[in-house]
Amino acid sequence: MTQQKMKRDPGANTSAQDTVAVQLLRKHRNDVPVSGWRLLAKRLGPVGLISLGIIALVVLMAILAPVIAPYDPYEGSVTARHEAWSLAHLMGTDQSGRDILSRIIWGARTSLIGPTIVILVTAFLATTLALTAVWFGGRVDALISRMLDILFAFPNMLLAILAVAIFGPSLLTASIALAIGFTPYSARVIRSVALRERNLPYVASAQLQGISGFVITVRHILPNVRTQILTGMTINFGYAMIELAALSFLGLGVQPPTPDWGLMVSNGQASLQQGYWEQSIFAGLAIVITVAAFGYVGEQLGGRRASGRTR
């Protein structure tokens, strides 16, 4: 069966001149679960697939906003303020007479960009730090661990607020600050898995053959932590979205009149007190559904595997 699998796998043709270590490396690579669609679907389960569908829908909404939004998200009319939902305005209009549905569709853009920046920066920082620490070990590892300990001392939101206080309110500032705050959590997970890999005999034998540490790390250790990186990114996305929305709610993130879900919840607060619930509730639900979808997918990707390993 392994023979068959090796034949199908393009990278696995073990030619005669390969050294034992290279063969070991290749073999090990094949042990990494292949991310086929069927495997993914099985791991996600029905609810996970629905969640994945929701994520795809939100992303599509963001990309196609100019095409599918029925109205201009910035243009309102004074005569059409606080309209209830109708065929003309499926989610009604806000305090400035703007179409809420259109603003939610456009809002998907800003609401997704922030978390995307956060998870990309987090993944880059955490992976770099973790792999550097693991490869060099000793003092480098200790130094990086101390650095992360200090970052652990700051609640994420506080870090973001401090950054905004220093550099002024902006989505980019808040996102980068949050990413720095998320880094120690992700780095710790990646480090522990990478450390296990680093201590496997094939790494030592590759090292003995004079393959550079950078090459071994990138080519062989990195692929083995990609599950952790991906899971972390999926789970962090949801948290980042909530925290960035909170910052926008406080007026410290996205600035009006840009359509953004967090900002819309905040804008709708006054209307809500008067009974016009549409803006806050629809924008809030958009956040809840998107975050829940990301959370569930992340949980299924990482959680199942983790619990399966301990058993």
Partner: protein
């Protein structure tokens, strides 16, 4: 004991570095520190002089930090750049609301989160499914959204609870802070309930629990002494992180409900660019965050003998 001292030492070291970061942060800002502190406001020369004196802008950088740190250690957090109020006094007057709110939410998270999780794990069927579904969705509810919905439903519509202000005296305060505390606790309850359920379920299948059943130990003893007691070990950690995080997320809730805690003070100060107040509150939050995390770790060592012993005398 050495373990406790070691952890305290580590906390102190982290706090010193954090204070340095909080202090030096403003020098990262574009423009001169003076410009940053004044932020384009028109100020009289006297005020400018006092700002220069407060931040020791004429001294070398490290001396400035040292003096500032010494002042902070003596409880002198400087003066507000806007109102010239004493920051320590300002923060002290705001602290009770935040502490009350955080403690209230912590109790809700502990009681409801653990309670729902245990109930879900021990009563299979519809209730368990409901809790699983609720916790999957609940963690995704931003606190500020929960706040608005609660305000709308129980405040404006039903009129059961006030939607702003923090009240006087214990009972009134409890009444005023009920909705904010629920909103603040909401995601935490969801997360803790989910972890608790998983932990209890896992413990139900553990060897020693099955052994206890096989030995004919009565159900209630198995449930409380073995299943629930042991499943609380992983729950403690999650509970701790969630409670420690409360102080930092409280400012969103305080802002939404216009409560006079340090959180809303922080947000207002950031909006008005009053960096002296921001620094002070950031420091207090880092301190509180560190202390709560430390307490949780120590608590863990108390309830799990394996941790206690491996950290103490190296028995095997």
């Amino acid at each position: 004991m050495t373990y406790v001292l070691k952890r305290l030492g580590a906390l102190a070291a982290v706090l010193v570095v954090s204070s340095f970061i909080v202090f030096s942060g403003m020098y990262l800002a574009p423009g001169s520190p003076e410009q940053f502190l004044v932020q384009g406001r028109t100020v009289s020369p006297e005020v400018l002089a006092s700002i220069r004196a407060q931040y020791g802008l004429d001294d070398p950088f490290l001396i400035r930090y040292w003096n500032w740190l010494m002042d902070v250690l003596q409880g002198d957090l400087g003066r507000s750049l806007l109102t010239q109020q004493d920051v320590s006094a300002l923060v002290a007057s705001r602290l009770p609301t935040t502490l009350f709110l955080a403690a209230f939410a912590a109790i809700l998270i502990t009681v409801l989160g653990v309670g729902l999780g245990v109930l879900a794990a021990t009563r299979s069927g519809a209730f368990e499914k409901l809790v699983v579904f609720g916790s999957n969705l609940g963690f995704a509810v931003p606190t500020f959204f929960a706040a608005l919905v609660l305000m709308f439903v129980f405040g404006s519509n039903l009129g059961w609870f006030p939607v702003s202000g923090s009240g006087e005296g214990f009972a009134d305060r409890l009444w005023h802070l009920t909705l904010p505390a629920i909103a603040l606790a909401f995601p935490g309850i969801a997360v803790v309930a989910r972890i608790t359920r998983t932990a209890v379920r896992e413990e139900q299948g553990s060897e020693h629990v099955i052994m206890a059943i096989a030995r004919g130990v009565p159900k209630q003893f198995v449930l409380w002494r073995h299943t629930i007691r042991n499943s609380m070990l992983p729950v403690t950690t999650v509970l701790g992180t969630n409670i420690a995080g409360l102080l930092a997320s409280a400012f969103v809730i305080e802002y939404a409900f216009t409560l006079d805690g340090i959180g809303s003070l922080l947000v207002n100060s950031v909006q008005k660019k009053d960096f002296a107040v921001v620094q002070a509150i950031a420091l207090i939050m880092v301190l509180a965050f560190g202390l709560i995390n430390l307490i949780v770790d120590l608590l863990y060592a108390v309830i799990d003998p394996r941790v206690r012993l491996s950290k103490g005398a190296a028995a095997r």
